[in-house]
Each structure stands twice: as structure tokens, then as C-alpha cells.
């Protein structure tokens, strides 16, 4: 607010005249509405998916939804420049949170990854993703060259590698892997030469081979094998893929009706209120429902991309891109997994899957994106 843009417009004039309205007029409503609409679809689907369980997850997810909106408003209210200024501190706090789970964390699904507050618990790794994105955008935003040099790539990778290592140690490999879309998305936008990409791909392949041979547990290898030929083990590891595809496929064009999906209501579908919530939606609302929800996701992601395009500076563009890459990867991977296109991993679906920390992270990321947009005319 110290320096207003020289390329002023009537909107800015109005905003300058009435600062309170400035936020409202500058908000990308399409983005916000699509996010809220997705969250409401999510609440309905979680209700249907857990209606047959001992506990209906609707009220809890409603609470997370409310808290998420608060996080969104808070994240949008803070000038992201202030966040960038304190990005190292935020990053350090996130790392401290990750360390804390080793001492006072709860265990869930074989990984010590949660911090508890009463009956609610949080996963610090979700916030570490946001903190990493902020620090990365600060670092990469300051490099004013068309392409990153090796030192820049190495430093950026190091920023991500520290929290990733901690999360891997919990061990929560699925969550750790989700740092990669942030890094890759931001590096690609910041500029990486073709030969560097080629070198990275080769390195990645070699590393993957090494991990397959030395770094993976048997059940993890089994998952990959099962993905490659799910019919090889229809009763064991292939069960989830098979049941998910049956759920999706039996939805047909118009679906079996809300709360009428037999695959989920009769509990054939695993993890149906979390990772496989989209299979429930696909079974009950059919291909039309899938297209509609996909339309909301496309609106959300393309609005966010538009915000990146009109962001004021490199850091803003990079921050939005990192967050969009993270959310887009979640959306694409989860839905592709549900329909059997990629191996099954515990990657939840933004705004639809049940989950506290993840919901808060998604809304906070949305708030950050909106915040970048609100400050597109602020020069700093």
C-alpha cells in the first residue's frame, strides 16, 4: 500500500477511495465459489460414504470445513510479501513441528505423523508443504535470470529435501512424495533448461531403480506389481483397485443415486470416505457427476493459473504455481487412481476427502492464492 501502481484503473481508484471494499472487488469469486462448492459436494459424499459406518464423518468434516474457511480468510488477509519476508522463520517452525511428532506424535496407519489436540489431530507435514512453497518462492523469486543454474536447482531441492527427509523418517512416504509437485512445478516455472530436465529424468530413473532394489519394502513393491497387472491378485492387493473400478464402472452415465451405491453402502469399497471418496461419487452420480465435479476442479485450477498470470512479481507467480502444482497433482493422481490408471497410494482428493490437516491445507493454499491476487497491484 506504500506504492500504488502507476497503471491505475477505475477499480483501483474506487479501492483507493474505499479501502474496505478493495478486498471484495479484488477477490476471484469463481475460484472461491468453486472451492466452496467442491467442499459442499465433499461433505455430502463423505456423509454417504460413512453412513454405514459406526461414525458419520459429516459433522467432523463440517467442522474442518468451517476452520478451513477461517484459514482461507486469514491466509488471504496477510500480505504475502510479509510471509515471504518471514519465510525462513515459517520454514523453521514447520520443521520444528515435524520434529515434534517424533517426541509427542500419535501413530496412524503405521506412521508417527500426527500431533493431537483432544480428539482432533493434525499432520505437521501438510503445513510443511505450504512453508516449503513459501520459502521456495522467496528464494526462486529473487533469482532474476531466465534459467536457473545448477546452484539454484540444488538449493531449491535442498529446501524441500529437509522436510521430506523428516516425513520419510516418520515414515509417511505418500505424504513425502507430495513435496515433489511443489518443487518440480516451481522449478519448471522458474526456468530449467532442456538438458537439465533430461539429466534429471535419467537421474530419476537410476534412482528409481536403486530404490526398487534397495529402498522398498515388499508390500510397496507388491503395490507396483499389482498396479501393472491388477488381475494377478484379485483377492489380495488388487482388491482395492478392482472394487474401486467396479464402483466407478457400475455408476454408468447417471449413477445409482445418492446413498444408493451398493459398492460403498455394502462396504466393498475400501477407504471410501478418504482416498476413494471419488469412487463413491462416481458410483452414485455416474459419469455426469464426474464431469460436473471435474468442471469445478478445472474452474478452480484455471482460475488459480490466471491469478499466477496476473501476479505482480516472480515470487507471487511462483508461490501460486507451487500451490497449484500441489493441488493439481492431488486431483489428477487421486482420480486417476480411483479409475485404475495409476498405482494406489494414500493421496487424498482436495476438498472432497475426509481429513483435518489436509482440508485446512487446501483452504489455506486457496487463501494464499487469493492473497497473491488481492495484492496484484501492490508493487514492492
Amino acid at each position: 500500500m506504500r506504492n500504488t501502481s502507476t497503471t491505475s484503473s477505475s477499480v483501483i481508484a474506487l479501492a483507493d477511495a474505499q479501502p474496505a471494499l478493495r478486498y471484495l472487488t479484488g477477490v476471484d469469486w469463481a475460484l472461491l465459489v468453486s472451492a466452496v462448492a467442491l467442499a459442499i459436494v465433499g461433505l455430502a459424499t463423505v456423509h454417504s460414504a460413512s453412513a454405514e459406518l459406526a461414525m458419520d464423518y459429516l459433522p467432523r468434516q463440517g467442522v474442518w470445513f468451517g476452520l478451513g474457511l477461517l484459514c482461507l480468510v486469514a491466509a488471504a488477509s496477510i500480505d504475502y510479501h510479509d510471509l515471504l519476508d518471514h519465510s525462513l522463520l515459517i520454514y523453521a517452525l514447520a520443521l520444528a513441528g515435524l520434529l515434534l511428532v517424533f517426541f509427542v506424535g500419535h501413530e496412524a496407519g503405521g506412521a508417527q505423523s500426527r500431533l493431537g489436540f483432544g480428539s482432533f489431530s493434525l499432520q505437521p507435514s501438510e503445513f510443511a508443504k505450504l512453508a516449503s512453497a513459501i520459502l521456495l518462492s522467496r528464494y526462486l523469486g529473487d533469482i532474476k535470470q531466465p534459467f536457473l543454474d545448477l546452484k539454484g536447482i540444488a538449493t531449491a531441492s535442498f529446501i524441500v529435501l529437509v522436510p521430506v527427509s523428516l516425513v520419510v523418517l516418520e515414515p509417511d512416504l505418500g505424504s513425502a512424495a507430495m513435496f515433489m509437485p511443489i518443487l518440480v512445478g516451481m522449478l519448471l516455472v522458474a526456468g530449467v533448461r532442456g538438458r537439465t530436465i533430461a539429466a534429471a529424468v535419467v537421474t530419476a530413473l537410476v534412482l528409481a531403480g536403486a530404490v526398487w532394489t534397495f529402498g522398498m519394502k515388499d508390500y510397496q513393491r507388491q503395490r507396483v506389481v499389482t498396479f501393472l497387472s491388477p488381475e494377478s491378485d484379485p483377492l489380495g492387493a488388487g482388491y482395492q483397485v478392482r472394487q474401486s473400478k467396479i464402483a466407478v464402472g457400475s455408476g454408468g452415465l447417471v449413477g445409482q443415486g445418492y446413498m444408493q451405491g451398493t459398492q460403498s453402502q455394502l462396504r466393498f469399497l475400501p477407504a471410501r470416505h478418504t482416498d476413494f471418496v471419488f469412487a463413491v461419487l462416481a458410483e452414485e452420480w455416474g459419469f455426469l457427476g464426474v464431469v460436473a465435479v471435474y468442471g469445478l476442479y478445472a474452474t478452480f485450477l484455471l482460475c488459480a493459473a490466471r491469478i499466477a498470470l496476473r501476479a505482480r512479481n516472480r515470487a507471487g507467480i511462483l508461490l501460486v504455481c507451487g500451490l497449484v502444482a500441489l493441488l493439481a497433482f492431488h486431483i489428477l493422481y487421486n482420480t486417476a487412481m480411483v479409475v485404475g490408471l495409476v498405482p494406489i497410494t494414500g493421496i487424498p482428493l482436495p476438498f472432497l476427502s475426509y481429513g483435518g490437516s489436509f482440508t485446512l491445507m487446501c483452504f489455506t493454499a486457496t487463501g494464499l492464492i487469493l492473497g497473491v491476487d488481492l495484492r496484484r497491484y501492490v508493487n514492492r
Binding site: 516455472v189 467396479i246 464402472g249 455394502l266 462396504r267 471435474y294 516472480r314 489428477l332
Partner: protein
């Protein structure tokens, strides 16, 4: 300015990446289109397959009752343990658990699993049968931890009187591959009747299984019924059998080899049909163990054999009844004609002995029947010739099946000239006619045929069709080509056999009851001289027959007793018949006086 340039490049990259994002989203949507629209029907079918389970609803097999409505066979619930392999998480743990509940070895269940038998309609493997209620309860409680186990209720046949009714009732066994391909209404795993009335009336007794389609959840638990076609229960079967008489006959034959047939000569209703030794058909209800089956097959005297209908024997002196009817009917002898019996006689240059070494002296037809004089009937045989003998034997039911409603009946054999030249391939020797005249030679009959013969004599020539189904429609009051007066005369002579001094059937006599009967003693090994068969080893001793009916004026009961290697008919068989008459008429008198 440098800042702005780098921003422009970033925007280009963002546009490129956005385009890539759209491409990926379209690709995933295509994935959904493929699964939901292109293969929607396939997955809808798989979904139905997941949640809908079809299972047969067993129809209850009909009960089998005796003529008084007493239950002979009933159905009892039995519990089988089934295992759904696909629901097993840890096979070893599951087997350990089951083994512990059943107090058996894991390996035993493992091998049951290996055999992989599964009851019809259940996609599960049969692990164990006949669980106790306590064991069933334990599996019920563990249902949540062990969804792989299912308890199947299955009805078993309980033959209340075991060996006593075994040959009449038969048993149930699993359908064989050949019966399945034979185009019947059977399905793999069905139990079908084997032997006895279980086999004859299988279709009536079995009913038709129903089908239940249920919605199950992922643990296989029933959520709701979807559709049900109720089973058609099998019909009950009321037999002509009199359980008390059957049991009495069975007891009397215990430890002996032979058979007893008792029937009502007025309508052919079989009141008792016993073959000894017998077996317990209940061992077939539980799945038969191999050693039990071998034991049964190797047991002495073949207990599975129904001697009353499947085995044929020489009728011995019983055949003299046929001879008497034939002689009188053909006018070859008159009742007054007498023959000299000096203990033996010579025919065709061969000496034929009478059983009584000292001979019967001058004997007429009545005396010859009463004393069972062989020489008299040798003479009669010679006069009649084999063709006429065979004609009357057939008219009285020998040489063909009686059409009883049991499978496996043997037609026996009535020899004649044609049989000799065509079937045997040896010409008929006149001396054979002499042997046939006293029921020896190639002549063969079943105890049931003898019962039919005596029933026809008793009812003065009306055709009798022995049967066990009380609801059967059989011809009655249909006269065979026989003269009732001649049969009356023969019956009177048979009365004398039992009731007059020197009658061979004296041991069957019951005070106050006019029993008519005939003894028979069949030589097993040809003897050159008069030999007391009691001195021979058991397997060479004579077979003992006694065939009879009572009361002679208006017969109600025919009793035929046959004891293999029992010795003389008069001593081994007649007392058994007497006991049965006492049982039957005593019972009847009591009931009569009470009513």
C-alpha cells in the same frame, strides 16, 4: 527491465503448464468414460455379482411312514462348516482357529481343504460335517474376526430302525457323474435314493429345491433378501409295512442268513420284508468313510444284498404245491389216486430217493403234500412232463419279476425245453423233470416269488402284485387261469401239513389259527445217500424253507421264511413263521377285543 523480461518468460511457462494440466484432466476423464460408459455394463454386472448371492434352499425330503403312520425315516438338521477361501486373510490362523474349536488337527482340515469339496450352490469348501451346537455357537461368535467361515444347515436322513428296515428303505448317496450326464433333474452334489423305496420313489420324496437370492455386504453377511423361490417339499410316503411285524421278523432272523416276506394275499401289500444279515443305512447319512464302505463290502454274506428279491434259490418241496395244482388241473391225477413210496423209485434207469428213507407207503395227493413225499411227485412229474410243469409254475408267478416297487429284482428261472436248447445249449434230459418235480434242478425262485405263489393259492387264483407303496394302484380280484376249486383242495392239504400228525409243518402250528403251509429243504450239495445235513459243515447244510398262509378259509397273511444253510424247513424255518403268526394275530385279536 530485466525483472519484466523474466516475468514474461514465467507467464509463457505458466500458460504451457496450464495447457498440459488441461490435457491431463481430459485424459483422466477419458479414463472415466472408458470405465463408466464403454464398460459400464460389465462393471454393473460385477457389482451385482459382488452383492447378490444365489443359494439353493434345500427342500425337505418326504418322510417315510409305515401302515400305521409310524415314522420310519425322518430328517434331522446337521451343521456343516464351510470355508470361503477368498475371504481368508491368514489361512494358517483360520485353520488353527477351526481346529481348536473342533478339537482336531490343523492338518486334517488342511487336507479337507485340499479335497475342495463344496456343497451345491455354495461357493465355499466343506471343511467339516456334523458340528455340535456348541461348535456352531463358537463359529457364530467369531463371525466378525473370521468371516471366512460359514455354517450350512443340511438335513440328514435318520433311519429310526436302522438295520431292521434297511433293505426296504435303502439309503441316500451323492449323485454320480453318470446320473448327472444321464439327463435327469439332478445337479452335482444332490443326494439321491439308492436301493429300497428311497430309490424307487426318489422323485416323489425329493421335492424340488428352491432358490434364495440375497444381498450381502463385503463380509458376506446377509443384508436383505432380494428374491426367493420357495422349495417344494417332498411328499411323504406311506408304506404297506407293519413296523411291529417287520421288527419281529428282523429279530427272529438275527444271527441267521436268510429272509422273511409277509404280505396280505388279498391285495399284495407287503407287511414285512427282511433280509439278513443287514446293515445300518445311517452310516450313509454321514459321509461314508472309506473303511466303513470296505467293511460293508467285505462283510460275510453281503449285507447289502436284499435276499428276498435279489437272491434265487431252489424252491425244494415248496414246488410240490405247483405240481399238485398242475396235476389236478391237467387231470393227470385225481385226489384219490395213490402211489407206493418205498423210500425211493427208479426213473430212466436212475434211482431217485425220497427224503424219508423208510418211505411213505401208499400215498394220495393230500398225504403226499402233508408228508412231503418225494416219490409221489416224481411220478407226477414224469406224467406231466416239463412243459406242463413250466406252464403252471409261470401261471403261479414263478420265472418272472413280481413287479414289486423295489429295484434289482431277480426274475428267477423256470426251465423248459426251449430254455434248455436255446439258453443253456444242452438238451433237456427226462431225468431233470424228475428233479424239478421236487423243486430241485435248474429251477430258481426268490423268496418274494414264493410269497406271491402262496398268496395266489391262498386267494384261490387271483393275481397278486406285491408292493410297498400304500397308495399304489395294483390289480385286485383278477383271476388267473386257475381253477379255484383245485386251489381250495390244495389249500386244505396244506392245512394238514401244519395241523395234522405227521405233517412236516407241525412246528408252525398255532392254537386256534388255521395255518396252511409247506416246508422245503433244499440240498446244497448232492448226496448219494440219506445224510443228516446237521452233520455237514455249515456252508454245505441244507437251505430251509417254510411258506404259508392263514387263516385257510379267508387268508389275511402270507408268511415265507427262508434260512440259508439252516437245515430242515420243518425245524429251522417253520418256528419263525409261527412266531410271526402269533405276533400278527395276537396283535389283531387284542386290537379287535379292545375295539
Amino acid at each position: 527491465m530485466k525483472v519484466r523480461e523474466s516475468r514474461e518468460e514465467l507467464i509463457l511457462r505458466v500458460r504451457f503448464l496450464s495447457a498440459a494440466l488441461i490435457v491431463f484432466m481430459v485424459l483422466v476423464l477419458l479414463g472415466f468414460w472408458r470405465v463408466q460408459i464403454a464398460s459400464g455394463e460389465l462393471y454393473r454386472g460385477l457389482s451385482e455379482n459382488n452383492r447378490l448371492r444365489r443359494q439353493p434352499v434345500e427342500s425337505l425330503r418326504g418322510l417315510i411312514l409305515d401302515r400305521e403312520g409310524r415314522v420310519l425315516v425322518e430328517n434331522v438338521a446337521s451343521y456343516n462348516l464351510l470355508m470361503h477361501r477368498e475371504r481368508t486373510k491368514d489361512l494358517e490362523k483360520s485353520l488353527r482357529f477351526a481346529a481348536e474349536v473342533l478339537s482336531r488337527q490343523s492338518e486334517e482340515l488342511q487336507s479337507a481343504l485340499g479335497r475342495g469339496r463344496s456343497p451345491r450352490g455354495f461357493g465355499a469348501i466343506l471343511l467339516a460335517e456334523n458340528l455340535s451346537l456348541a461348535e456352531v455357537a463358537k463359529f457364530g461368535v467369531a463371525g466378525f474376526e473370521h468371516p471366512e467361515f460359514e455354517i450350512q444347515i443340511h438335513h440328514l436322513r435318520l433311519y429310526r430302525h436302522g438295520p431292521q428296515t434297511a433293505h426296504v428303505l435303502g439309503y441316500l448317496a451323492e449323485v454320480t457323474g453318470r446320473e448327472l450326464t444321464g439327463g435327469g433333474a439332478y445337479q452335482a452334489g444332490d443326494q439321491v435314493g439308492r436301493l429300497g423305496v428311497e430309490q424307487t420313489f426318489d422323485e416323489r420324496l425329493r421335492g424340488r429345491d428352491g432358490e434364495q437370492v440375497v444381498v450381502v455386504d463385503s463380509r458376506g453377511r446377509l443384508v436383505k433378501e432380494f428374491h426367493e423361490q420357495p422349495p417344494k417339499e417332498g411328499e411323504h410316503l406311506e408304506l404297506t409295512l407293519d413296523l411291529e411285524l417287520q421288527q419281529e421278523a428282523s429279530e427272529l432272523l438275527r444271527d441267521r442268513v436268510g429272509s422273511v416276506v409277509a404280505l396280505d394275499p388279498r391285495n399284495g401289500e407287503i407287511l414285512a420284508l427282511v433280509s439278513s444279515p443287514s446293515y445300518d443305512p445311517n452310516i450313509f447319512s454321514r459321509r461314508l468313510q472309506e473303511d466303513e464302505w470296505l467293511e460293508l463290502l467285505e462283510a460275510p454274506h453281503d449285507p447289502l444284498q436284499n435276499r428276498a428279491i435279489q437272491n434265487t434259490y431252489s424252491p425244494g418241496s415248496l414246488f410240490k404245491v405247483v405240481m399238485a395244482v398242475a396235476g389236478l388241473s391237467e387231470g393227470v391225477v385225481s385226489p384219490q389216486d395213490r402211489v407206493w413210496c418205498g423210500g425211493s423209485a427208479k426213473f430212466y434207469n436212475r434211482r431217485f430217493r425220497c427224503w424219508k428213507r423208510s418211505g411213505h407207503g401208499w400215498t394220495d395227493l393230500r398225504g403226499a403234500l402233508k408228508g412231503s413225499c418225494d416219490v409221489y411227485f416224481y411220478n407226477l412229474g414224469q406224467r406231466l412232463g416239463i412243459e406242463r410243469i413250466a406252464r403252471f409254475a409261470r401261471a403261479l408267478g414263478l420265472g418272472s419279476k413280481t413287479s414289486i416297487d423295489l429295484a434289482g429284482e431277480n426274475p428267477g428261472l423256470v426251465p423248459d425245453l426251449e430254455w434248455a436248447s436255446h439258453s443253456r445249449g444242452n438238451p433237456w434230459y427226462p431225468g431233470e423233470t424228475i428233479s424239478v418235480a421236487i423243486g430241485q434242478g435248474p429251477l430258481l425262485t426268490t423268496p418274494l416269488q414264493v410269497a406271491k405263489l402262496f398268496a395266489m393259492v391262498a386267494n384261490r387264483g387271483q393275481i397278486v402284485v406285491p408292493h410297498l407303496d400304500r397308495g399304489a394302484r395294483v390289480p385286485t380280484r383278477q383271476q388267473a387261469a386257475l381253477d379255484p376249486q383245485i386251489l381250495e383242495r390244495v389249500s386244505e392239504a396244506l392245512w394238514a401239513v401244519v395241523n395234522e400228525t405227521k405233517g412236516t409243518g407241525r412246528r408252525a402250528r398255532v392254537e386256534g389259527l388255521d395255518i396252511a403251509g409247506k416246508t422245503g429243504t433244499v440240498q446244497v450239495v448232492a448226496q448219494n445217500n440219506w445224510v443228516d445235513s446237521r452233520t455237514l459243515p455249515p456252508e454245505q447244510r441244507d437251505h430251509a424253507w417254510f411258506a404259508s398262509f392263514a387263516p385257510v378259509e379267508s387268508p389275511e397273511l402270507v408268511v415265507v421264511v427262508f434260512v440259508e444253510h439252516g437245515g430242515k424247513g420243518s425245524t429251522a424255518a417253520a418256528p419263525i413263521a409261527r412266531a410271526l403268526y402269533e405276533k400278527y394275530f395276537d396283535h389283531k385279536l387284542k386290537r379287535h377285543s379292545a375295539g
